[in-house]
Symmetry: D3
Subunit: 330 residues, 6 copies
């Protein structure tokens, strides 16, 4: 493989099924081979030593690979057969054990490398499997370098603003949005945050977000207006404002009772099915360029509840994307 | 016993109460004695070696018996005093350690035996405690033999269609509906499935269900229309079409966050209170002949969450049934 | 300290923050020092040997103190900066190891003592951290003695009526409401219970509640009418009827899937966000004099889910109270 | 019952076996019926609200009853068929919910009642299932009243001296030995403690024990000399000094890694097999009159490890007792 | 692949190492490719629906594959570099979902198939990864067919005799030794059992074992004489008596505190390091033909304790085997 | 405070006791105040983002502080009253969120700072609470700078050699010994490692250790010779060879069944009581200058088993040190 920053996938399995007609996701998402044309590409970013509180989110890419065999590649809720598109796993971006800045550089370079490798594919959507939320800054920078000259917007599902200052602790999982603003990668008015929640954010961070022109919806607003309604409003604005949209899902946006496997969730958070509906909708949206899923910590999980929920997020998004491609059609 | 300071040993379902006015379910559901007339009869089917993935659902009947002492025999939500009807536990259908076909034969024979024993009771409703979902096929066959000549319909709460082919693995927990169709016990148009969910079913199984004329509602439809509304539609059709209705509740229809104790649940599944309302409603329905509860695995449970939820399903159903009998009343 | 590289030891509730702008609840709720004027005072009541079933609710006050450092003292959902009011922790009421009646006497005396100590503060709201539900009887008696001559009402969030007879087992966590009625501390028509749930209450207790003129809303009514709507009705009545309102939150009102850490929750219970909204609303209400939180058992908890949920209840209530004080303003 | 396919319901301790030749302990220890002559009698003492730290040891008697079905009534290690003697479960001594002194009175009266009921049996050995360690004081008092005029000695397996003063907290699980000394039930020189361990005992308690003439062996001495050797020394002294010996096993003497289910165990404690050997040896000893097992908390257990270990203690003791009776023979 | 009964390994990973000099077991045990000559071959037998109590031992082969990456392929305790021999994973023997007799036939055929495929290798040692203990009967039959005419002996590490009658429940995990005796595959005097333990075996089974001439050592004998000393005695006898020795390790021989992941372990069982030493010794023994490891249930495990312990058993055995081959030398 | 019924809030390490004669470790180890003379000083090093596999060892210092209240400050096994010496907690060395090299610099500077602050105390022994094993390299460097000109030796309890190369991943928890050798801080012949275990170390690392002249004892040697015997041999050599000895305890040396709370333990490891005896012995040794305890991960722990075991290690060491000082006497 010609990659410098990406290692081949550590493959958990190619488990078959007890029923010859039951096609599993593990049979659909195959290890990518050089030159292989696909419509969707997954890539792991096993970094979580940059997390403020201890996190094993570095183990999430392999944990997700490990549960593909438990999911069918068919979405009966929307009647979408995922196997109509082709999907591959590009492996993991190479990380260093103790040099965090180098890890962040590798992420930017690795995402760019993946996009370069798929430049000529008729359609290609990267799905980035974190890692903690610090990865979103370099990942989005890599995507922005690939799309140089284009204006990129961000839709973020998160309990937190993630705009801590970079002086106190460097680029951690509390700073990605600030890093993207301070580096000029994104403009504040192109950032839309959903799920911001009580007692999980400092007043100073809310003030910073407002100063930067960030739009946000609290969990209370989500309950009052409905998630899909808020999302449509945000998408409508972004569609007019930007050339492409990046989606970042901090899994800690979900209710703590439904998502034990993350350092960040609060009681009273978003319900999983709300998030599934939202990312399905975003998968359909033409301007959406990529999605990342971060802060999923398999070591804190119970009985695969969180890992399966994370897998459902990815698959729901890909199901919407599948509909997008089918509508375009040949 | 002449003791003043010593109480008799506390066995699983004869637990007393710390309050003389608080009548527990363990005091209401008593071991059945031959000839004893009751309105409701529970029977255990401790079989789960027929499950595709490892399951201890065989332990569910005893686990449910073990929590009756934690529940009051009064439904304050509907103001129903369960002790107005009589209920008994008929014990377990005998299983073989390694001969699965014989187990299935015993289930059919055992359900029939229970129904024969209660043939002369003015009212009698069997509640079958699985076991994995493979038991529904022989249990319903046993019931159909008892009601020979009558047309039976099925309402199924389930994440899955359960129509896998019988050639690949024999009669497992993935095949009961197919077994009932292929044996001619049920017609496709008399089968109504609720809670079918994304990434848990193969396209081939959805196509088979449609070919057979099965009606199903996905979880997305449940969220959009509401469970009780869907249920009324289905009941209305069935009431005209069949002579009797069998209810099967695969507990994996519930959301994985609420139901760790089963091999099958998905994130984004049904909420427990929705299911309680639905089975309460079905208990009221005249044509309903029996209910089974399957795929409850106490070994995967956490802190009795799933077992207590299963118990609530049974009690909600019996509460509705209690209302049905009171309306008939003398 | 002259050190450059060493920080003082981190004790439970003095945790610093990785971000100098992020003020934590542990920095806001400080140990009370004699004479210190505050608007809110927390006090622990570490008693749970009076619980019918084994409970470690005695550990809840310290468990709550231990998670304050995980919460920001800002409520973005309502845009309330908690640090606008002053809050202190008064410590624990002294308990005896084996003399339960003496514990209950201490609670009454201790609550009175706290109120006497804050008599001259312009505003003061006690928050009582149980302990099991038996503590509500002496705590409310202490408050009533302080407010002698005033008529006190009660709003109770609970799965249970808590009106067991006092003869069979003495003053346990099943009896507080009965104790308050029999002692003449409260009148039945001033008691409003929300969240009463199926199979968790005896018929006899429902009949007693009705005889006493208690108003209650079952979980089914909560689902049908909505919690805030019911609450407004109850508050409106109480506002006209009484001089002051005491709030008691038995955390077992919450759904068992969301609240493993209590002996009492049922499947199908209240959702945490509903409860947060309700206590926030009550914090705003002028006549509300105090709140207690009981039956939170950290030993049954999983991954701090229940303790964090309990903390959220307290903080949501204080956020509403903060709004109340700001509206009064100077 | 005339059924062919249905077995009677399985209650906690009447479990059958999958093998007709495999006799389980649940088939051997039957509920005692008045007048029934047995050689061994078990009795439960479900009290743990007298524990200093929260404990669910009150649930231990039923937890032990629940695992009898997992054990064969044959000790292959010593080739002893337990079914050669008769054993029965006398039930539980009645407890009060909030009156701890009354509970202790009931224990003394209940043990006496059990002994009176079996006064005429040729052989009878009571086995007392706690409860926390506070029960040993009234239980031994009850036994001493039955054996009035006889001098009773004590062998205690424990991490702790259990001689806290009675003034600070009353008769808790930290005081039984002091209570027995201060009441004159036992003399210090007749008390032998084994397993006393570092960092689990105050200097003051060691000094009190020495003042009273108590003999003790620390865990370090157990490791250096060997448990059986120490035990023989102690038994030899006691045999000459007293008329009867009471054995109290505080399960917290075991290593924390082997015994999660107790508030008290330390790292570096006794290994289970050492304790099994010791109680087997004591079962053989003619002067041994009774054994209690305390501080087994099923709520802190993991996967029945502690409950099964507790069951093994009881069965090992009864196996030794069985050998004692066989040697006496007819 | 020319196999009929064996499926390719479901490969959990080929994870590399963070240190280029650190060769992991996952890099050493590679998927076998047809014709590839190796000295050791692993094969999975994912069957546990034949277990008396619910078991997920069917998941053990993949669980073991999943932890190879956590182990170095070097045994510093004996200074053995495992990579001096070649090892491969032959995959899993094909199982049927509901036809247990067919599963047992496949095991016999699959083991034979593996041995035929390696007939011409200079040295070849199969390691069979169960599955529950029922697999030992067909696996050893398969091996005996390959070695037709040779007399085979058995060394069994087990808490249980495993000689239940075959009439009551068919060939389950309680019957393998009886199955081997009744089929004439083994003679009683060639069977040596180690670790038989109290309260885990019926008297009838001990009597059967003695009638058949089986030699056994209880756990008490293991403690008194020492495991290696007993083992040397048994090996010495077998060496003279038989042509080849099969080793079966029922992991339930280990102490329950060290091995939560199995339905069978007792308190007071064997310590892991004793078993590691024993299988290392047996790996060195010329007449040893194969080893199986059974009744390892990953669903009951805690934090991979049992799976890692099982992995250590396999690796210790292979380390001894490695020494055997090196002594033979070229 | 003038209260009669209210006690001050209980913070983590100021917990009182239910018995006035029972002095807890939390009452003995107090926060250090500038200039305060003590004989023992604890300091936390909350760094574990340098761990190869995800670790929350950064939480160990606070976890240990949290359990001091569960331990008595008296060692009955050796009859040592710890309160005869004075002990204080110096707090934590300041860490950076994302800059690992700066963390390591701070550790070296912080240890030096602590030693400078106590330079004039008659006796002073630092106890360093990690953190992962990477901290040992800078901590020992800090100590060596304080003792410039003195030759320092190392006794290491560990499953691993910890001599990975520094090129592949920088200074992680796999490299501390190599870092100390390459920096010239230690000589190979002054390093003694105990507990090195099978399948946890690469051949290359054993060869490197031998090349460097490191002496090591494998777990097998520990079992054969006995830990204390090996230790005496090593101490005797070191006593002649060096001026001072540093002790590093990687808690992963312990058996995985006894120590779930660490990324590194193996089955078959050291028993806790062996380690307690060893560090007690080292506490007595005049040349011992300091001890660190590393790789204790409270997030992987179960029920405080590992944290309490770690606390026992610290206290056993301090007990030995207490004896050392008492022998010196005044």
């Amino acid at each position: 493989m010609p990659f410098h920053y990406i290692q081949p996938p550590v493959f958990i399995n190619r488990a078959g099924s007890v029923d010859r007609f039951d096609r599993k996701v593990s049979q659909w998402i195959v290890p990518w081979e050089e030159g292989q044309e696909v419509e969707a590409g997954l890539i792991g970013v096993p970094l979580s030593r940059s997390s403020i509180s201890p996190s094993a989110a570095s183990e999430a890419p392999n944990a997700l690979r490990g549960v593909w065999k438990s999911f069918a590649a068919y979405d009966v809720d929307h009647d979408v057969d995922l196997t109509r598109i082709r999907a591959a796993d590009f492996g993991d971006i190479a990380m260093h054990v103790t040099d965090i800045p180098r890890c962040h550089q590798n992420i930017e370079a690795g995402v760019l490398e993946m996009l370069e490798a798929s430049r000529d594919f008729p359609s290609f959507l990267p799905v980035i499997l974190g890692g903690d939320h610090s990865i979103t800054c370099p990942a989005l920078k890599g995507l922005a370098r690939f799309h140089t000259g284009k204006r990129i917007g961000l839709i973020q599902f998160d309990t937190h603003f993630d705009v801590r200052n970079l002086e106190d602790g460097g680029p951690s999982n509390g700073t990605p949005i600030r890093g993207l603003l301070e580096s000029g990668t994104l403009r504040g008015e192109d950032i839309f945050q959903i799920g911001i929640h009580s007692f999980a954010n400092a007043l100073a961070h809310k003030e910073y977000a407002e100063e930067q022109g960030i739009t946000y919806a609290t969990m209370r607003q989500v309950r009052q207006e409905g998630l899909l309604s808020i999302l449509e409003r945000f998408v409508k604005i972004l569609r007019q404002q930007v050339d492409g949209i990046y989606i970042t899902v901090d899994i800690d946006v979900l209710d703590l009772a439904c998502l034990p496997g993350s350092p960040g969730p609060s009681p009273g958070g978003m319900q999983p099915w709300e998030l599934f509906d939202a990312v399905h909708r975003l998968g359909q949206e033409d301007k959406v360029l990529a999605l990342d899923l971060v802060c999923l910590d398999p070591f804190r999980d119970r009985g695969q509840l969180s890992v399966k929920t994370g897998a459902h997020v990815i698959l729901s998004f890909l199901s919407g994307y599948c509909q997008r491609l089918q509508q375009k059609g040949p």
